[in-house]
Symmetry: C2
Subunit: 168 residues, 2 copies
């Protein structure tokens, strides 16, 4: 009878450890999953594939983009914004990401970093631009979807100009 009680205690202890280990090992798994999201986005954006881009977003995404208005509410509005942005370029946009940091838990994650967009505009002019980005994610039905984007450059308050010339 004594060994039976000991067995019960051991079983509960094992279960608790298993739950803990699962939670901890998942943290780095989640980060890998967000890295995969970013890789998928980068590929889709480079290809100018708007359907593939928007498949990565939640229908209720709210985006603070580099261009006005203050916010794009919902995937339909943000899709239109993507189409207009991509239409400025002739051919693919190269994306370089640096200083990337990913914070991920079971159901909520965010990533932040600097991204460089380089490509040729419709006018023939070359464009080379460093932006700051922050993206927020939720796991919805087992799949990570972007629920929030924030993309910008800083403002020079003396001139009122956007600092489109900064490099990291």
């Amino acid at each position: 009878m004594k060994s039976q009680k000991y067995f019960i205690f051991l079983l509960i202890l094992l279960f608790a450890f298993a739950m803990q280990a699962r939670a901890q090992s998942h943290s780095s798994t989640y980060e890998t999953q967000i890295q995969e999201w970013i890789d998928h986005w980068t590929k889709a954006f480079h290809e100018g594939n708007v359907d593939a881009i928007m498949a990565l977003y939640s229908p209720d995404v709210i985006a603070y983009d580099i261009v006005p208005p203050l916010q794009f509410i919902g995937a339909q509005a943000y899709r239109k914004d993507y189409i207009e942005f991509l239409a400025q370029y002739n051919g693919p946009i190269d994306v370089e990401v640096r200083d990337l940091h990913i914070f991920a838990d079971r159901d909520v994650a965010f990533a932040q970093g600097l991204e460089r967009f380089s490509g040729t505009l419709k006018s023939g002019e070359k464009s080379d631009l460093w932006l700051r980005f922050t993206s927020g994610f939720r796991k919805i039905n087992g799949k990570w979807l972007n629920v929030h984007d924030h993309v910008s450059v800083p403002t020079d308050f003396e001139t009122g100009k956007s600092r489109l010339d900064l490099k990291p």
Copy 2:
């Protein structure tokens, strides 16, 4: 002996349910905690209390602020940025937050919204500004700390100007 096995099974089941219930009830608790963080920040910012502001940040915070450079790395750099921003104003800055969304899990959270800063500049001129903000949080030693801020207005690419005049 049969009832003993049944008891063990029941005990494990109860434990599993307890873990699950704990995880779910915490989700809204975490959101409340992030709301409290925002309330503390708003109060400290309104009072121009830099020590109280910086107590809310992680030492390794990375901030993409409204002003250059592209990024402020670490609390010391960001503190200096806060001091310079607050020094532009004469008296307190009123903060209004709207369209706030909070996403929070056990150890990772982020919040996004629009914020209005209104106050009087050192020159005597009134300033009234709507910004977009995104903040990322991690729970460190049981306390939510901000590890990332992103604050901006959109860019008008035709004029190169920052759109400091937008209202939600």
